[in-house]
């Protein structure tokens, strides 16, 4: 089966071709075609995964053809199938397929229906290329491909100014990251002489620490852009302008995790340069708490999700930074399930509210009490929220708290502290969202009320599938023995970070403690303490949300009045966009203007001044000329006139004259050959 | 030294004409203009941009001649109008004059006149089908049609002693009764002919090439056809059920049972179908005439000098091509004061421009064929 790995990207490619070229013919069938292609891909992935998981595993390279051969650089298009890419394939193809199906319902009736599915399949193609590449260049192709699709899909409703602006913003911010990524690739090639994973990793242990750190940091700049880390996260919240399935697939489940995947994939290089890892851990932790805090007060349902995504991505990078690569990938997987679900659920809500005024469709202040109207959506979202909050035994608990444990046991106490605080906020804002949307009194616009009903099966079935995955997706791979099955499975693909022994032991202990807790025994004080703390944090956040938004509904307003500055700061997302505007965009404008002024005043001034001088000089000399060297001047003019008459013929505009000159040229060349 | 051929040297070549248009004189000597019609076509490639008819090459002043000769003497001149269907022209004239006089014609004469007129319709339609098919390239139909047309002409010879310009009828009836042989042969022909029509249709009606060449070509709507005062099969091909035999019956038509076929789309193909069906209906009429043919005299009492009362009359009949009428003004003398002919071909030809614009050269040929003109009557 692994031999047929090349089939996986081929199906979406076929979908792109069918929907892209025959879009006007396919019309309403575009969604089915695209879903079929995604489903076929998923089938192949499942076949491969079955072989990888049940079989001996290992790492397989499936060559397709040689792409570039330039000097010593040789890049082939070939696919790598190993545990890491298997997990990623499962996530991408699985969630991708589910969201394709969901989109059939969600996008139904949109004028750009075939176009949407063309982009979606193109995205699948690029993302699969990204995770299956066996070298950095091919990965970069996928990397750029998903960026392009992201741009196209954010700006899918391009007639909306904000959507097309958001698309451009995403693209430009990503370019900044990509520049770093590309520099990283150059550096890799310069230092190791190859871009293929196998050879780079073979050469990695010989890399000097500063070199490895440099590579790591450059690559991480790329990851910052793609995975929306501080300071390049600004595009992701805006990206919610795109259709909701897109937000779910690209901006929650898959594309934004590409950076995490890339760091995990490059882990053999990263472990050589610990400095880079420290940076990653810190950036990740800061991002996590920073964006979680913004999420606390947002009112737009999708923006809450967006900041939550940024925050969770921060968690993943935290894991990478502290060396818990497997935990990061684990969280990536579970996050894909529950965050995809959250988005799809939000989409379902928005879909139900599409009769409401445009400004209210996504605003939680105009929702409430939807539970009875949309039971399936509600229960699915609750499952997702519990998973995100980290309540056992839902998926998030297993992965997120593993990360926190990893941070703690590897000695990154600051990071751990920030992470725990962020976890508290996470639990709070997600249940704030649930309570505001589904509980309490209905605040929906009156004439939109009767239109609210549960979404069609084509949308709810994907929700249920993801809900099931959100429940069991953590416990199954994460449950002991050892630190969980997934760690064992992923181990061959990932490098061991310094101090990994303590870390692994810690994770193992925590897991064991959890197991023990379930069984009523006791192991490792610290472990139990951590677990208790984690559960307490999650429940505390939920309780707080419950108190503020269900029991004492005046509390938020009260808090808002008491801390107006803080509230406004959070509501306006720490004014980051404004700061960027002021600090980066404005200075560039100002620089431009300054250069322009320089040109206007100094250069032109010089020119004008000299001409002014010239005028005076010529006036003086004119008198002189007229009297004395008139004849000479006229003579000069005559000479110039003569030559220009001569040269005028060179540009006659007639082809044959030019050809004649060409023939003369040939004549001269032959002459040169003959009389050399 | 290289500037040879300098005698008519022109420096600027702006006189070189572009590829724009080609003006073609179709006719007056062209195989498919059916006589001496001259069509001036302005072509863009092969597409017709403009189309002008130049007629009058066969003008003989027939109307003027009519003012100078007696009513009886004019009958042979009508032969030379629509010479393809001479008896029809005769019929139009004699019925018009009889209407002027107010004579009662014996029934037998009516029936024989109808019989002969329908034969002339068949003869005309056969010639039309033959040449129309040949224009579009089907040469076998041409010869087959001529085979049957030959039989019709033989019948005329039996009855009237002439084949083409038969001078069939007289004022007041017929010159003499038709021989029995004529009636027998007519019966024979009427039994044979429907099968032969089937033969033509096997070659054409469902032939893909024929369909491609005729369907959707030269389309004219019913309203346009009426506005252009087109008559005959062209009008009926556009779906207007107008036939003078039915609308203003004359001769024996009131006593006969026949269907007036109409088309739907008004294209060349529908006109073809209409005419084919008309041939079938003509055969039916012939059968009925032969069966119902009453005994009796073939002429009413006609004075030796024919002097009609002063007055005017217009009478028209359904010629194979359309409405063929005479407008006669009498001042009470032996010669008409004024004779005006209402020729169907002339009027129908007026629709050519509308039909041909935007088509291809080859379509023009098919369209002229489907209008079915005869220049003798068009130019008069």
């Amino acid at each position: 089966m692994i031999r047929y790995a090349w089939l996986i990207p081929l199906f979406p490619l076929a979908g792109v071709l069918i929907n892209g070229l025959l879009g006007s013919r396919v019309r309403d069938k575009a969604g089915h075609v695209a879903s079929l292609m995604a489903g076929l891909s998923l089938l192949v992935v499942l076949g491969i995964a079955r072989e990888m998981i049940l079989g001996p595993g290992g790492s397989h390279v499936v060559p397709v053809w040689t792409w570039i051969t330039a000097g010593s650089l040789s890049v082939s298009v070939s696919f790598l199938v190993d545990p890491l890419s298997t997990i990623m394939l499962l996530v991408v193809a699985g969630v991708g397929f589910v969201i394709h199906v969901y989109s059939i319902g969600y996008m139904h009736g949109d004028p750009g229906y075939p176009r949407f599915f063309t982009y979606l399949n193109l995205f699948m193609l690029s993302m699969l290329l990204l995770v299956m590449a066996d070298n950095y260049l091919l990965m970069f192709v996928g990397w750029e491909g998903v960026g392009l699709c992201s741009y196209l899909l954010i700006g899918f409703w391009y007639e909306k100014q904000s959507a097309s602006d958001a698309g451009k913003k995403a693209f430009i911010v990503n370019r900044i990251g990509d520049a770093g990524f590309l520099l990283g690739l150059f550096l890799i090639w310069t230092l190791t002489g190859s871009l293929s994973y196998a050879e780079v990793f073979k050469a990695a242990p010989q890399l000097a620490a500063p070199a490895a750190t440099a590579i790591g940091l450059l690559l991480f700049i790329g990851a910052m852009g793609k995975s929306a880390q501080i300071p390049l996260y600004v595009w992701l919240p805006d990206a919610m302008e795109g259709p909701t399935p897109v937000s779910a697939l690209i901006h929650a489940a898959t594309m934004v995790t590409a950076g995490v995947y890339m760091v995990a994939r490059t882990s053999p290089v990263y472990v050589q340069g610990p400095g880079a890892l420290e940076v990653i851990a810190l950036v990740g932790a800061l991002t996590a708490i920073f964006s979680a805090s913004i999420g606390l007060v947002q009112n737009d349902i999708k923006r809450v999700m967006a900041y939550s995504t940024v925050s969770q991505l921060g968690f993943m990078f935290m894991a990478m930074g502290v060396g818990a690569f497997a935990s990061g990938i684990f969280h990536l997987m579970t996050h894909a399930f529950f965050k995809g679900l959250l988005f799809l659920g939000a989409g379902s809500v928005i879909h139900a509210l599409h009769h409401a005024p445009a400004a209210q469709q996504q605003d939680m202040r105009y929702m409430g009490g939807l539970r009875s109207k949309m039971p399936v959506t509600y229960w699915c979202l609750v499952a997702a929220a519990l998973a995100l909050a980290g309540v056992p035994p839902f998926a998030g608990f297993w992965s997120k708290d593993e990360i926190l444990a990893g941070a703690f046991f590897s000695g990154h106490y600051v990071v751990w502290g920030l992470g725990t605080a962020a976890a508290l906020m996470t639990a709070f804002y997600v249940f704030r969202m649930i309570f505001m949307t589904f509980h309490g009194e209905m605040r929906v616009d009156h004439h939109a009320r009767e239109h609210i009903r549960e979404s069609p099966a084509v949308m709810t079935v994907p929700l249920v599938i993801l809900a099931v995955l959100s429940v069991v997706g953590g416990v199954l791979p994460g449950f002991p023995p050892d630190a969980g099955w997934i760690h064992k499975f992923l181990a061959p693909s990932l490098a061991k970070a310094p101090g990994h022994a303590a870390l692994d032991e810690g994770v193992r202990v925590v897991k064991a403690a959890a197991q023990a807790g379930a069984q009523g025994g006791g192991h490792g004080t610290a472990g139990i303490a951590l677990i208790v703390l984690a559960i307490a944090v999650a429940l505390g956040g939920i309780a707080l949300a419950w108190r503020m938004y269900l029991r004492d509904t005046a509390a938020p307003a009260r808090l808002e009045r008491r801390f107006p500055g803080l509230y406004r700061l959070l509501l306006n997302k720490y004014y980051v966009d404004e700061i960027y505007q002021a600090c980066i965009v404005e200075p560039i404008y100002r620089l431009m203007r300054a250069l322009f002024d320089f040109d206007q005043k100094v250069v032109d001034g010089a020119v004008n001044g000299s001409s002014f001088l010239t005028v005076w000089f010529s006036r003086i000399s004119g008198i002189f000329d007229l009297r004395t060297v008139d004849g000479a001047v006229n003579g000069t003019a005559g000479v110039i006139g003569f030559f220009s008459q001569l040269f005028k013929f060179i540009q006659s505009g007639m082809v044959q004259n030019y050809l004649f000159v060409m023939l003369l040229g040939v004549f001269l060349m032959v002459s040169a050959y003959l009389f050399r | 030294m290289f500037e040879v051929e300098s005698s008519t040297r022109v420096e600027r070549s702006s006189v070189v004409p572009g590829t724009e248009e080609l003006i073609i004189n179709m006719g007056p000597q062209h195989p498919s203009t059916h006589g001496v019609l001259r069509v001036i076509l302005r072509l863009d490639g092969e597409t017709v941009k403009d189309c002008d008819c130049d007629i009058g090459f066969l003008h003989r002043g027939t109307e003027k001649i009519g003012e100078n000769i007696t009513y009886t003497m004019f009958i042979p001149y009508t032969d030379r109008l629509d010479y393809i269907a001479a008896p029809s022209s005769n019929l139009a004239w004699v019925t018009a004059v009889e209407k002027l006089f107010g004579w009662e014609i014996p029934m037998r004469a009516h029936y024989i006149r109808t019989l002969v007129a329908e034969f002339s319709r068949i003869s005309s339609h056969l010639l039309w089908l033959a040449t129309h098919a040949l224009d579009i390239g089907a040469m076998t139909v041409f010869l087959w049609c001529f085979r049957e047309r030959e039989m019709v002409l033989d019948l005329f010879e039996h009855a009237f002693g002439a084949r083409l310009t038969v001078n069939a009828f007289r004022l007041g009836g017929l010159f003499q009764d038709v021989p029995q042989k004529f009636l027998d042969l007519s019966q024979e022909f009427a039994d044979l002919f429907p099968g032969r029509i089937g033969d033509y249709e096997t070659l054409l009606t469902d032939n893909r090439i024929w369909l491609q060449r005729t369907r959707g070509v030269g389309v004219i709507s019913a309203d346009d056809a009426i506005d252009l005062s087109l008559t005959g099969p062209i009008l009926r091909g556009s779906g207007v059920r107008w036939d003078i035999r039915r609308a203003q019956p004359y001769a024996a038509y009131p006593y006969l049972d026949f269907v007036v076929p109409v088309g739907e789309n008004g294209d060349v193909y529908d006109r073809y179908l209409v005419r084919i069906e008309e041939m079938r209906q003509s055969t039916r009429i012939i059968q009925q005439c032969l069966a119902q043919l009453p005994k009796g005299p073939v002429s009413c009492k006609v004075p030796r000098t024919i002097k009609p009362p002063a007055g005017e009359v217009y009478h028209s009949i359904e010629n194979p091509k359309g409405e063929f009428g005479f407008y006669i003004v009498s001042d009470g003398s032996e010669t008409p004061y004024r004779v005006r002919i209402r020729p169907p071909s002339f009027v129908n030809l007026g629709g050519l421009k509308k039909l041909a614009l935007g088509g291809l050269v080859a379509d023009v040929v098919a369209i002229i064929g489907s209008i079915d003109i005869v220049l003798g009557e068009c130019d008069r």
């Binding site: 505009g653 044959q656 050809l659 | 070549s13």
Partner: protein
């Protein structure tokens, strides 16, 4: 066997005839025809070389030259037709738009 020089000489003569035609005639079609002649002169040299060294590369290239010639004819004639239609021009030395 015909010496290679003969082929080359023939090719050169044809090339020069063609070149002279291109440079000397005013009529655009004549210029195109002369270009065809030049292309063919190249073919002759190719075939001559192929003959000399028993290497089919020369013939293959001649085929490619013919393909190029077909393209040239198609595009060239299309240009001429539109030029002729829009400006009623036939002579190359009246067309000096390159001057601007």
């Amino acid at each position: 066997m015909v010496p290679l020089t003969h082929y080359l000489a023939l090719g050169a003569i044809l090339f020069l005839i063609g070149a002279a035609g291109v440079l000397m005639r005013r009529n655009a079609i004549m210029i195109l025809l002369s270009i065809e002649l030049m292309l063919n002169s190249v073919n002759i040299t190719f075939v001559g070389f192929a003959r000399q060294w028993a290497d089919l590369t020369g013939q293959v290239f001649a085929i490619f030259v013919i393909a190029v010639a077909a393209c040239e004819a198609a595009v060239g004639l299309a240009i001429l037709i539109s030029l002729n239609r829009d400006r009623q021009m036939m002579n190359v030395d009246e067309i000096n738009l390159l001057k601007w």
